[in-house]
């Protein structure tokens, strides 16, 4: 437990406190998941015999269901989700970089929407920085095309089977992947009324 402003042993006597920082649950959620999540998990288990092998864990947090899928099984799971569970629309792929998670630094997060059932789920796939390959889902949802190019551009995840995996937002000859945590934000110090304001990435950070 730490105070409102996160002080730890600094003698903060302001009286603020009360916000308990809950660390993200790394383990799977326990059944029942609640809402339609149990139904989705049951349907997927029934339609896909390899469920236990392909799904690393199921997390329910803040009313949202996340399935952590092994990258080797992603295409199979995606096809079943689209055809059997009727998740017709993919809302795109997004990357997140966790440098501290050694061996699974790069995460791809896919949000799916079932218009038939009015349901949403999230798939999360993690790949190591040393081997940043995962299958492309353009064959399953054609709209993933630009989204996967953006994740490649920003994080360097290589989507195998993508019809034309090139940079999309940054110039073609750009070096590095800007959204990774080790990529600097840039910026220069600015002088204002005699004092110097450092660039945002070098200002004091409050952890």
């Amino acid at each position: 437990m730490s105070g409102m402003f996160g002080s730890q042993g600094s003698g903060d006597t302001s009286g603020f406190g009360g916000l308990v920082r809950v660390s993200v649950s790394e383990g799977s959620s326990e059944r029942p998941y609640g809402g339609y999540f149990d139904e989705v998990a049951d349907d997927l288990e029934r339609a896909y015999p390899d469920f236990a092998d392909a799904i690393e864990k199921v997390v329910v947090d803040r009313g949202e269901l996340t399935l952590h899928v092994k990258r080797e099984k992603l295409l199979e799971v995606a096809l079943i989700l689209r055809d059997k569970l009727l998740f017709e629309m993919s809302l795109g792929v997004n990357g997140v970089h966790y440098p501290a998670e050694v061996g699974r630094e790069l995460h791809a997060v896919i949000h799916l929407l079932s218009m038939t059932h009015n349901r949403r789920i999230r798939l999360e796939i993690s790949v190591p920085d040393s081997d940043p390959h995962m299958p492309s889902l353009v064959e399953v949802w054609a709209g993933s095309n630009w989204n996967e190019r953006e994740v490649f551009d920003m994080f360097g995840i290589i989507f195998d089977g993508h019809p034309g995996l090139t940079r999309i937002l940054m110039p073609d000859d750009w070096r590095g992947h800007p959204q990774r945590k080790d990529y600097p934000l840039g910026g220069i110090p600015v002088e204002y009324k005699g004092a110097t304001v450092p660039p945002p990435s070098e200002r004091r950070s409050y952890r």
Binding site: L19, V24, L91, N94, G143, W146, L185, R203
Partner: protein, 450 residues
């Protein structure tokens, strides 16, 4: 045409050595050889770059067209000319400062960016139910006004690009009225950063509701001018009917939402199906068309104007009843401590608040300082929150590591996904129809490139 890169043998770029270094004299290319070269190839294929500097591509969109005569055989869209790194920048700012960044993404619908972001932060904080009814009603009011101003630009510039000048004049006249309302309420006409995590920046000014009622009346009267000009207009119909065809299967696989999806007959509107900010308490219709073409999307936008006015009227009635309710959550550890006030030189710091923190209460000063410089902590986790923007589903994926700044912030921009469908809509059609199709998607490049 010569393709040599060695300047010494390039006939169009002779060079000579001087004391300052090598000096090049660049001359024009030889058009005769270019024409001969084209004539020698069997197929007549011309590749044309339309944009990024082109008046009818809605900003800095670049379309690479492969043409056979007037027909488009292949179309590729090039984007990234307006990439500003907003998502990366927001990782170095506090959660409240993030609003000021995301409002600049889709610059025609800033309040939807703010609403999606703030609803996301509230979901992460677990305070969704603490947002007061008045704050939610003000959000809905502002969003629906914003939908009108955004549709006005979509319709006005869309008509302009197809050669109809008068609708543009009318649309921008109406949009000015909406921007006046924004200015009265938030102090700014665009990029207001008005919706904040926990509520809105400040309450409505006195007499705002009367002014809004007046504006709604004027808008409803003046929208008829556009109706008369375009609906059923023979030239307009010929330019838009059966143009830019995209059916339901195409929309779902390409992730296309908004008016383009509703033009396939699918009544998909998140305000009805996955309501947020109390949309379930308002009466309005989801407008659809079944033509899958540019004309259908145009009709949907025209009808959505009236639906937005209906919602605004209900908001005004509701706000009248909720007079005096706070517009920010009660938790002082999240609510911004400063209050704004209208002074002689415009909207600025409230003198009462400054008097309190500088003259009366040291604790207030500390609280203000800590909250403004450091910000509040958001429990670790990730969420996805979506709202129905004028262009479709705008979703925000927020990841927090428990700190005072977002760990990762990503917007699922409707313009970005919808723009992918340009190829499907345009290949096989005429160049002139490309302009109509792009206008009907209504992409905003600030949102596409972020």
């Amino acid at each position: 045409m010569s393709t040599s890169t060695d300047p010494l043998i390039d006939p169009y770029a002779t060079s000579r050595e001087t004391t300052e270094g090598r000096v090049f004299s660049v001359t024009g290319g030889d058009w005769d050889s270019l024409v001969t070269e084209i004539g020698a190839t069997k197929e007549e294929r011309v590749v044309v770059n339309m944009g990024p500097q082109h008046p009818s591509t809605h900003g800095v969109l670049r379309l690479v067209l492969e043409l056979e005569g007037e027909s488009v055989t292949e179309l590729r869209a090039g984007i990234g000319y307006l990439h500003t790194g907003i998502e990366k920048n927001a990782e170095y700012r506090s959660w409240t400062q993030g609003v000021t960044f995301v409002t600049r993404m889709d610059y025609l619908a800033p309040l939807f960016n703010e609403a999606a972001y703030c609803l996301g932060v509230e979901k992460l904080l677990g305070i969704t139910d603490d947002v007061t009814e008045r704050a939610s009603a003000i959000r809905v009011l502002m969003m629906e006004f914003n939908r009108i101003s955004s549709h006005m630009v979509a319709l006005g510039t869309g008509a302009l690009e197809l050669g109809a000048l008068s609708p543009m004049i009318f649309c921008f006249r109406e949009r000015e009225k909406v921007l006046d309302v924004f200015e009265m309420i938030s102090g700014l006409r665009m990029n207001m950063a008005y919706i904040r995590p926990g509520g809105v920046a400040q309450d409505l000014p006195p007499n705002a509701l009367a002014k809004i009622r007046e504006t709604v009346k004027e808008l409803r009267r003046d929208f008829k001018d556009n109706d008369k000009l375009l609906i059923g207009n023979t030239i307009w119909m010929k330019r838009t009917e059966d143009v830019g065809y995209l059916d339901l299967a195409g929309c779902t696989t390409l992730g296309v939402t908004g008016p383009v999806l509703r033009a396939t007959g699918m009544p998909w509107d998140l305000r009805k199906l996955q309501p947020y900010s109390g949309y379930e308490n308002y009466n309005f219709d989801v407008v659809t068309a079944d033509t899958c073409d540019v004309y259908g999307r145009f009709l949907i936008r025209m009808s959505e104007l009236e639906q937005s006015l209906r919602i605004i009227e209900q908001c005004v009635d509701k706000l009248e009843k909720l007079e005096g309710q706070p517009v920010m959550v009660a938790d002082k550890k999240i609510a911004w401590p400063s209050q704004l006030a209208l002074g002689g030189d415009g909207l600025g710091n409230s003198l009462d608040h400054i008097r309190e923190i500088m003259g009366t209460s040291m604790e207030s000063l500390i609280h203000h300082f800590k909250l403004v410089t450091e910000g509040f902590r958001v429990p670790a986790g990730q969420i996805y929150e979506a709202v129905e923007s004028p262009r479709g589903e705008i979703g925000v994926h927020l990841v927090s590591d428990g700190g005072t700044r977002p760990y990762r912030l990503h917007f699922r921009e409707p313009s970005f996904n919808n723009l992918q469908s340009t190829s499907a809509m345009c290949e096989g059609s005429l160049i002139a129809d490309v302009v109509a199709a792009v206008a009907s998607i209504d992409p905003v490049m600030g949102g596409v490139d972020r």
